[in-house]
Symmetry: C2
Subunit: 201 residues, 2 copies
């Protein structure tokens, strides 16, 4: 029904995550309508990111350099490694300003349903980073869902013999949330992880 070039464009756009056929059509007509320099800027941003961004040689975070900014930064605590699934998790944790150590990006989680086992993640490289004994603490910050928990459990067992402090991020009620609306698993975790009131955190 559309001209070939428009149909092609809609097809390509609807392959992007979170964009359905209607959204793809809307974006396609927006692009056809937009000033050429705006569209060139978008195309250039995609091409540049794709060309310059790759994985950090050490921690597999996304970076434009050979080694990412956190691995390079000598002010960061080199005795801690926080293990996450994806680069965007690094960004989320950095936003908290709570953590000053290093990172290790697994590149996903263990998920039998998606046919993804430990061998498909950057676990071997994590173990290699522990070789020189500089790291004394590992914080497992995989997602609080089934795959993330399985991955954390696997890593916990794998790292146990190495004599490191291995911890998992706390589960509990989200700050600002209503107890009434918490699901029973979260509320159960909040009970199990309860702390003495009135003291420090």
């Amino acid at each position: 029904m559309f001209e070939d070039a428009i149909q092609q464009l809609i097809g390509q756009l609807s392959r992007l995550p979170g964009i359905g056929p209607k959204g793809a059509q809307r974006i396609a007509f927006h692009l056809l309508d937009a000033p050429p320099e705006d569209v060139a800027a978008l195309v250039e941003a995609i091409a540049t990111a794709k060309r310059t961004v790759h994985f950090c040689r050490v921690c597999f975070n996304l970076t434009e350099d050979e080694v990412c900014r956190y691995c390079r930064d000598q002010r960061r605590d080199r005795s801690q490694i926080c293990v996450v699934e994806e680069s965007k998790d690094v960004v989320a944790i950095e936003r908290t300003r709570e953590y000053q150590g290093l990172y290790h990006v697994l590149g996903g989680s263990i998920s039998p349903i998606d046919n993804r086992g430990p061998g498909d993640l950057h676990i071997r490289e994590l173990v290699q980073r522990l070789d020189d004994g500089a790291v004394t603490e590992i914080i497992l910050a995989t997602n609080p869902n089934t795959e993330g928990e399985v991955t954390a459990t696997y890593l916990g067992r794998l790292l146990a013999p190495l004599g490191l402090i291995v911890s998992r991020l706390a589960s509990g009620l989200p700050v600002g949330g209503d107890l009434e609306y918490a699901d029973e698993i979260t509320l159960g975790r909040a009970f199990a992880g309860r702390r003495a009131a009135g003291g420090q955190n």
Copy 2:
């Protein structure tokens, strides 16, 4: 927080319609993760559409040729012109298979709020198309919202002296909808436009 190239990409993506900051971030990481040939296909589709698609010289529909497929098609009824706001409206009408005439794409609607008057639309070109007397009927198919109604009213008055049949698409209840959920304006229109029951449509 992100690398410059990633931040640039997220910024560009979040300018697209219907894509918020979270969606832009999700698409950016998807693109960084996708096979290079997939990303190249997307970039190529955008560039090709932008390079090859332009307005039909006659009706301002989007086309890859000088004159669009409907204006070229000699089997179409050249006594009718259906006036729409955008190219995508042509596609919607073609999908109904109800209409065999020609089109005229205004390129928007009259909207004082957006500082868009009749002079910003392809109205002069529409009037020029009526010069040779071949067209005898104009169907105003602008959107059934305030701007579309204003545009249709304006065109109705402009075309009245030319002795053509000028009609407006019917307003009423959407087929398959529930009367209970119809807004009062739509329901009011459905009353005002009621037809004899039991006969043909």
